[in-house]
């Protein structure tokens, strides 16, 4: 893989995580438990959509084949999306989506920190912008996790189940593949093992405050990073790509 190919693949994978998570959050518009949460959810999903735009635009520039953000977002087949399985999981109830956000953001914030130090300026600049937003998102999801975990018996029980159910999607975040190795070797990219140690510490601290049990290590679902998705993904893409597919070549 040439260095440009590495950067295109890596930036578009970051874009996929941001876009697919943002798209899931958008589905929650007008369904939040409080008006303040409506604002937070719309605001945070807008951040993720904005990040996806930056990553895709950069990938397109590096590639030099004329693809723009919309080509990446709307005109690729399912297997070309390399997002984590975790972010494509359906919203479920408020506890499910809170846990999904918390587990992802706990990882993503560490990844972004590492990426601000990578040797590719294009990626490091985007990471430096994104991390400001994601730190805030993580604070928000952590606070909600604590409220739900240490709230009522019902909320505690519900969110513990959410945590147990989604835990199996966390392994993929730390399993380096060829692209991670390439990014690390060529551009001083993130060291996923180091991130895992830090992630476990941070997550354990929040779970303790939330009076929740950290699930045992178990079988981990993987595949998203290689484009092998869950059944949810096809529906998400069909909806998202609808107009671009129905009216090929139209300008919107």
């Amino acid at each position: 893989m040439s260095s440009d190919e590495t950067l295109v693949a890596y930036a578009s994978r970051l874009g996929d995580n941001a876009l697919i998570l943002g798209q899931r959050m958008i589905e929650l518009v007008a369904a939040s438990p409080e008006l303040e949460e409506e604002l937070a959810n719309a605001n945070f999903s807008l951040d993720y959509i904005g990040q996806a735009r930056m990553y895709y635009t950069y990938a397109g520039e590096r590639e030099g084949a004329g693809r723009d953000e919309d080509d990446f977002a709307f005109l690729r087949p399912e297997h070309d999306y390399k997002n984590l399985l975790l972010v494509e999981q359906s919203n479920g109830h408020f506890g499910d989506s809170t846990v999904r956000q918390f587990l992802f953001e706990s990882w993503y914030v560490l990844l972004l920190e590492a990426l601000t130090r990578c040797s590719d300026e294009g990626i490091s600049v985007i990471a430096a912008r994104a991390i400001k937003e994601v730190r805030y998102h993580l604070r928000h999801s952590s606070q909600w996790l604590v409220r739900l975990g240490d709230g009522t018996e019902e909320s505690h029980a519900r969110v513990q189940v959410s945590l147990d159910d989604l835990w199996r999607f966390t392994g993929e975040m730390f399993a380096p593949d060829d692209l991670d190795d390439e990014m690390r070797a060529a551009f001083n990219g993130p060291h996923l093992e180091v991130i895992e140690t830090q992630w476990r510490e941070n997550v354990a601290a929040v779970l303790a405050e939330a009076t929740l049990d950290m699930p045992d290590d178990q079988w981990m679902a993987i595949g998203g990073k290689q484009g092998q998705h869950s059944e949810h993904m096809g529906f998400l893409l069909a909806e998202m790509q609808h107009l671009q597919r129905a009216y090929p070549g139209a300008t919107w």
Binding site: Q23, I26, E27, V29, A30, A31, S32, P33, E34, L35, E36, E38, L39, A42, N43, S45, L46, I49, G50, A52, R53, Y56, E69, D70, A73, F74, H93, F94, G95, V146, R147, L148, D150, G151, T152, E154, S155, R158, E239, M240, H242, L243, Q244, Y247, A250, T251, W252
Partner: protein, 331 residues
């Protein structure tokens, strides 16, 4: 987005003015006439307070319900830029709702009470949001027509006699103007696009034109609360004046887009300098505000579901806050 002209549908509640002295009422009216702002802690007639609560809460409800027809296209927005714009707009609407509920709270009513009235079906919101968004062009039509109509209504409200409402409206208006321009630009892009896109834009105009005109409320003769609201300077222009202004501004915009306004009797009267239009189907308007529009049930059902689904979450947040407070008190 905004509601106006629904005040004729509300109830004034018991008339408590007997308890208010003529001196008080005269002094209040003198302040209004002198263009002074009335603030939350100032004395005000009960009917003034009730009128404002009704109007501001209806406006807030409209913002919140208005998130749904637009939210309907968020997951399907055709480009990343359009998705971001629409999402920012929907976020603005939630923000407007929050502002407006806060403005109404200064009048001594809680947000819970207001939301309760919305969910029970007692409170009204703008009739326009009970129409479906069937194509992407509807998002453009809503920005162009619905936000355009909202701006006509809201600019005068920036000078409303009640301080907290007028100040909220200044900020809301800035964002609405932006929404309106985005909607028009979306329509322009469609109208310069393929034949299918242009047909989509025309279809959206056909469906939203009349409901947009209805947003200004009934004809002046049928608007029972208007005279009092004008005297109190809550309202500055009549429903028909605002509607006419909207039509005069919007018809040339439709022509620029190359679209036909769905009113065969529409013509420009050189003598008056205004467009003349066909009669509005008021039966449709009254049907929609009384619950019989295409989406009334769907819109309220979605809000109720969000409220019900979130009950355990709000309960958990309260329980957690109580625990924290108790722990701090004990420390």
């Amino acid at each position: 987005m905004y509601t106006q002209g629904l005040d004729q549908a509300g109830k004034s509640g018991p008339d408590t003015r007997e308890a208010e002295t003529a001196t008080q009422l005269d002094a209040f009216q003198a302040r209004i006439d002198a263009e002074e702002k009335i603030e939350a802690k100032d004395w005000m007639p009960e009917a003034y307070r009730r009128t404002l609560i009704r109007q501001i809460s209806q406006h807030a409800h409209s913002e919140i319900i208005g998130m749904q027809p637009e939210g309907n296209w968020l997951t399907r927005a055709p480009t990343m830029k359009r998705k971001a714009i629409l999402l920012a707009k929907v976020q603005d609407e939630a923000g407007h709702g929050l502002y407006l509920y806060s403005a109404a709270e200064t009048l001594g009513v809680s947000r819970d009470e207001m939301v309760g009235e919305l969910l029970s079906g007692k409170a009204k919101y703008s009739s326009i949001f009970n129409y479906p968004t069937l194509t992407w062009a509807d998002i453009g039509a809503i920005g162009w027509l619905v936000d355009g109509a909202a701006i006509m209504n809201q600019i005068p409200l920036c000078r409303c006699s009640y301080g907290p409402y007028s100040r909220a409206m200044v900020r809301v208006c800035k964002e609405e103007s932006f929404h309106q321009r985005q909607g028009y630009e979306l329509m322009l892009t469609l109208c310069r696009g393929t034949e299918e896109q242009k047909a989509m834009a025309q279809d959206a105009l056909n469906r939203f034109w009349w409901p947009a005109l209805m947003m200004f409320g009934p004809n002046d003769a049928a608007s029972s609360h208007s005279a009092q609201s004008m005297a109190w300077k809550i309202k500055r222009f009549s429903n028909d004046e605002l509607r006419q202004k909207f039509i005069d501004v919007t018809v040339p915009q439709a022509e620029f887009l190359g679209l036909s306004v769905p009113d065969e009797a529409l013509w420009f009267n050189e003598d008056t300098g205004h467009y003349e239009h066909s009669d509005i189907d008021w039966q449709e308007f009254f049907d929609v505000i009384s619950g019989n529009g295409p989406c009334n049930r769907q819109r309220l059902a979605k809000r109720r579901k969000a409220q019900d689904d979130g009950a355990w979450v709000r309960e958990a947040a309260r329980a957690y806050a109580d625990k924290k407070a108790a722990a701090e008190a004990a420390a």
